[in-house]
Symmetry: C2
Subunit: 375 residues, 2 copies
């Protein structure tokens, strides 16, 4: 491992650090993988929510992207991006913001899975002469929303939105609970099969479906055949995290995000380090709690990013972290003022706590990226 | 319960709603309580981190306040507040920002509990002729940092900081794990006794301690005698939350914070509501998980704030919430587009997810407050 450049120690801790070289590698790997399997990536921008990261994820301003909020859609649209899928079921009240972006020439696609939404889209379209682009959510693994591929409601909804219907989308969130290669392959096939069946059912009713969209980070990395699928979505693969490491999608060394922290004290009776990174900096996400290895609030690394095996942030309060040292370490190894890096359980949640990210560029130089905030 | 004014349904969901009348009542109650017991409140501003809330919490610009980051200290100083305790052990690297505020005439107090910090303060003071105001953290309940009241290190540290020494501070974070009246009274006494003993030990060594500072929301509400204690700190009492409800410090109706959300779908097979409030809006905090009543990711209320008994947000993803209906409710009771309010497990964590708060003023009108962000 290369030693970290001097500037790493200068921003006041806690701060979020992105490793550009790893980010580029993660993005490049999935793009190549999915394209070699016959499809394209529609990256989910929700993990980092920055314009700068979008430049790595998207080859052009017209490349397809996914967002989780209208605030992101508005910010990316303002920066010139034109093909955005808002991948959360739309609340009818939000159609006016959707329409405002479409009137600016942004192909903002919305997601629905019920007749109230379909009726609202149809009514708004009729009332204002507004065109929409609607995806219908297909439930491929029974974990959240969407309609089953064989549910007759699918046809009713598609007919209701009529010419505004664009495609089918599914997300096997259940794949996050899986950690075997075969299991992940199965989840990927299940996503693809669900939209294939739904597409066939529409076709049989004379409704053509222009786009089929599947994906999650695990299924995008384990799917074996995307040749008849238009696009594959994934988000957290941009930086990866400990949850993805436990699932088996990445290794420690692929994780491109960490929180830099400073030791501010010790509890020598208990062999604890106290740091200035609490849940405000790390997030409250305990996503590894139910997995094969529980990393507490994050895996501890040296300032250069190398792992300190067996050390986690064991507990947090708002601005304090507690690291319980194992027998392999002494408090004296980590004096007050010493800096450490913490790998996150869940990159999306940790990034959400930071309005600014510090970026270690491949050449060792320093950038800062601003997060797009709010809804 | 008064019905909510119309504007409540207008901001796009999810959004954070503060009830001004409850906020004022919570703040007024603790102020009167602590003053009647012979002390004063030094409110912790970390829960809401807004200039507007500080006006409710502090009687004047010179009133004592507590902050959890230097970013808060800088923002409150800029707004004219002059007496700020930064209640997280200071990293030596941060002394330059502390000094910059003190040079502007802000009495920013810092916290230390070890000789590395004391030496850093002393060295900085000597090198730049800078005065500091230092609190030493006393460990009253063995839960995090601080030094024991009888530890000879206390005298060594106090001597090292010399004329910069101001006071003793303790925080019985362990009180959050307690939920009996007598237990909370004991924790409050334990905090006070710890600083009393430490103050006596300093006095015996000829070191005078100008300020003794104790407190947490539970102990501030259950302490029986603060007559010889300079000040009592508390933060989350400003809005309260479900964790505090479980501890027994407040009732549901005292909780002044909620997240307003919209139903975006149903899973009728499972009797689920899907909403647009995931962990981005509610936070990942599961503080009630280990308590007497587990509220999942929050207690569900009607749009007017009245409780929907037995309904919680049972699971979340980034921008989705799942509410599993009990037998008392039908999905049809909550059509797509219907709005609900969610009471938070932990107000500090939920507020941290929102750059803007919407405020229901006592007269029914609408304000917005901006959160101070970053470190």
């Amino acid at each position: 491992m290369k030693s970290a450049p001097d500037w790493i120690t200068h921003p006041d801790t806690p701060y979020l650090l992105i490793d550009e070289a790893k980010l580029k590698s993660n993005i490049g790997y999935l793009k190549q993988r999915v394209e070699s399997l016959g499809s394209h990536v529609r990256p989910h921008l929700k993990t980092l929510r920055t314009l700068e990261a979008a430049e790595y994820l998207l080859d052009s301003k017209n490349a397809p992207a996914t967002v989780s909020t209208l605030a992101e859609a508005e910010a990316y649209a303002k920066a010139g991006y034109t093909d955005l899928l808002y991948a959360v079921g739309v609340a009818p009240e939000k159609l006016k913001r959707v329409a405002a972006l479409r009137l600016q020439g942004i192909n903002l696609h919305i997601l629905i899975d019920n007749m109230v939404q379909a009726q609202a889209v149809s009514d708004f379209a009729d009332q204002f002469g507004q065109d929409f682009s609607v995806f219908i959510e297909i439930d491929s693994d029974d974990h959240r929303g969407g309609i089953k591929p064989g549910d007759p409601q699918l046809l009713t909804i598609a007919k209701k939105v009529g010419a505004h219907f664009t495609g089918l989308m599914t997300h096997a969130g259940g794949s996050y609970a899986c950690n075997t290669e075969q299991g992940l392959k199965n989840f990927a096939k299940q996503e693809c099969d669900a939209v294939r069946v739904a597409q066939d059912n529409l076709q049989a009713a004379g409704i053509s479906c222009a786009i089929t969209s599947v994906g999650s980070t695990p299924t995008a990395h384990f799917g074996e055949d995307f040749s008849d699928i238009s696009e594959v979505r994934a988000g957290v693969y941009t930086t990866f995290d400990l949850v993805m490491k436990n699932i088996g999608v990445c290794g420690f060394s692929d994780i491109a995000m960490s929180v830099v922290t400073t030791v501010i004290g010790h509890n020598k009776e208990k062999n604890w380090l106290l740091t200035d990174s609490g849940w405000m900096a790390l997030s409250r996400d305990r996503g590894t709690a139910g997995q094969s290895q529980d990393f507490g609030y994050g895996q501890v690394c040296r300032a250069d990013g190398s792992l300190l095996e067996g050390l986690c942030v064991n507990s947090t309060s708002q601005e304090h972290g507690v690291i319980e040292l194992t027998e392999a370490y002494q408090p004296e190894d980590f004096p007050v003022g010493h800096q450490l890096r913490i790998l996150p359980n869940h990159a999306c949640a940790t990034a959400a706590m930071h309005p600014v990210y510090h970026v270690l560029m491949s050449d060792g130089s320093h950038n800062t990226w601003q997060r797009i905030i709010g809804w």
